[in-house]
């Protein structure tokens, strides 16, 4: 049972990076399909389509960020060696990873759908780019809040 804490913490980090990455991949995929459709009609919209497609990609980055944060906290980056962790601390870190893992996963998918709809919108009304960017950003708010929650929780947990 010596390594249970470390394992739990790593499990959390893995979920943070993996689930939000999955969400972003789906979200970007959905938006990309929509963008490709619009560009068959008007290839000049590549720039605006790309920006809208990229919007659901941030969740994956947030997840990665939390995963690195955890690895850093555990001393697994660089040559210093892992810190000692009891299972309680490991569970705490695991819990801290959940907000970005779950919200990142789901919000990226829904943000991707909104992005896809926004891409359809600019295909008809290119001047509405501002509004088209804001709609998916409304969804991302909750990923940002989850990121913040995860960060604050991780900072509060004492290890080593």
């Amino acid at each position: 049972m010596e390594y249970l804490g470390l394992s739990l913490a790593l499990f959390g980090a893995a979920l943070a990076a993996a689930l939000s990455g999955i969400g972003s991949a789906i979200g970007i995929g959905v938006a990309g399909g929509s963008a490709a459709g619009v560009m068959t009609e008007d290839p000049n919209k590549f720039g605006s389509c790309l920006i809208l497609q990229a919007l659901p990609g941030t969740q994956g980055i947030y997840g990665l960020l939390i995963a690195f944060f955890v690895l850093n906290k555990l001393g697994l980056l660089g040559g210093a060696g892992a810190v000692a962790l009891n299972w309680n601390q490991g569970l705490q870190i695991f819990a801290a990873c959940l907000p970005i893992a779950l919200v990142g996963w789901y919000s990226a998918i829904w943000q991707g759908r909104t992005s896809a709809a926004s891409i359809q919108m600019i295909s008809k009304k290119p001047e509405a780019m501002g509004k088209a960017i804001i709609l998916p950003a409304m969804v991302e708010t909750y990923a940002v809040l989850a990121l913040l929650t995860s960060i604050l929780m991780l900072m509060g947990i004492q290890v080593g």
């Binding site: 919007l55 960020l65 980056l77 780019m129 804001i134």
Partner: protein, 671 residues
Amino acid sequence: MGVARLKKSELYYHKSVHAQIAAALQESQACQIISTESESEAKLRESGSETLALLSKSEEKLSDIRYLMRSLTPHFVDPVPSLDRMLGERPEVSMEDLSKLSDQTDLKVICEKTRAVEQRTAQTRLELSQARADLALLENLGFFQYQLSVITEGTKTLKAVIGTVKAESVNKLKAALGDFSKFSSDVDLTVAEIDEKANPQEIYAALIYSRKLEREILDVCVKNGFSSVEIPSHFQATVAEEKKIAVAKIAELEAAEAAALADMKALAQENMPTVQKLSDYWTSMNRRWQEIAKSENTETTVFTKFWIPETECEKLKSRIDSISSDVELVFADPEPGEEPPTLLRNGNLARPFNILTELYSPPTYRGIDPTPLLAPFFFIFFGMCLGDAGYAIVLAGTIWYVFRKYKRIPAGIKDFIKLFAYCSVSTLIYGIISGSFFGNFIDSFVPILVPFKNSLMLVDPMTNPMQVLGISLLLGVVHLMFGLLIAAYDKIRHGEFVDALGANISWFLFIVGLCFYGVGLGGMLPSHFVQIGQAMAILGAVIIFIYAGKGKAGIFNKIISGFLALYGSTSYLGDILSYSRLLALGFGSAVIGMVINLLGGLAADIPYIGWLIGIVVIIGGHIFSILINILGSFVHPLRLQYVEFFGKFYNGGGESFAPLTLSQEFVTVKS
């Protein structure tokens, strides 16, 4: 500052100067033509026939130009990259030059040439695909050793047919044909060798038979699953010979196709520069006559109405006066009931932020222009989100390079770039005070500078995030309260004192009071702020409560709506918490930077080439980080403006001033 004052102009002129006046209005690029009320298709046709003729001429030219652009653009190697073109590197020409060019160029001839080459290409491609299909067919007929004319024509007594038969039916077919064995010399079935790897289900077979038995034999064939393959009638020689012919033909056609494409390319290279210029010219002309067609006509005069910014009136008047003396130009202020379009006009400092307002929705003509009000907040928020001195230097350096290289950037794009130039300043400042330079680059690689970096730090989001969270939320409160005060000011301006007090000032008192109370309790402000805050909050709450009950019948309804209104404070709580994204995004860019440096440092430990990989990781990683974080730092502060800030006082709802302009996609028109 704010919304530019417009004048409504009425212009009466004689038909003889029609063309010059129209050109003057368009080239001023400052007049938005208003439809006169009597505008109807029928009326237009009878009175404005010259305009209509000019309009249909421009449309005719444009349809040729669109055809040429569509056909030639894929073959055209533009000497000016499209990015350069967007940034103003376009040939400078005057409208007279373009008009002359248009007279000298016969678009019809270019169209004909292009069509001819296009048709040739299509024809060649058609023949080529035919020839390839022939060759593919011949590949399957290698087993047939006689002249193919036996199949396509036959001899006096014999005829042959080629077809496919299912592998399992071959023997059945052979047996069935065996019944004709008494005339064995009259039937001969040749079956292709079966290639096990290829398509084993279907086998090619050739059948040579005597003409007198044709019907019976073909009947047997059909019943036994033999389906004939059509052999093109031009096949006469043996398969091997025909193959040679087909291969030669394909080579010839391929050469012809290449030649046609080369011709197309030459056509494109020769004509595209002209076509592009004419595209701008005729698009301008089309716009011009479409807009002028909104004028009213009499037998000899034309009457055009348009909006024009006050500052442009003099210039236009002198230009119009120089054309003819038979012109009457009157400027008038918009009447109270009229809703003129909106042109935002801000000083140099706020102008780049105009685009943020326009992206949402411009204000109405008599509304408040929110641009100067949102500009400082956007500036600060962007800085906090990107928040890295190194990224700021890269951003500013790139912009400096662009401005140095491109001297003729169009005004709109220039303003947009300037917006980022401004924001790089706030990014630099926040990067310095939060100690972020390419993430934690200094701590990781240049420890000697750490004391210097630390001496400049005022906040440390890494070790004390609560401090930055507090600052973010405080900025949020300031931003929201500022929005409430603007709303109150706007209402007072229109004489709605009670609404200003009840809907805006009350909430201002309530929330600021609560903040004073909370901060006072926390010991960050002198203790008498606790009492002041308490008093403000209670006063605010009472006003909110009473105001909500206004106009409701019965004491019970009044109380209910009062409580409901107070419950609305949760939305303010949500609004304020929304500003925590400033911390989160700033944190995000700092940690991404940190991760990149970490990975670079790890890569540098690889023996021999590690340093190289490390440098690539660090440079590539930071470029990625800059791009993704600029996107986030633009979008999220913008959302705070649109949703939280504008929600308090601004609806937009205006219509942008859209003057009659010249098309300048490929050229810059000099006046």
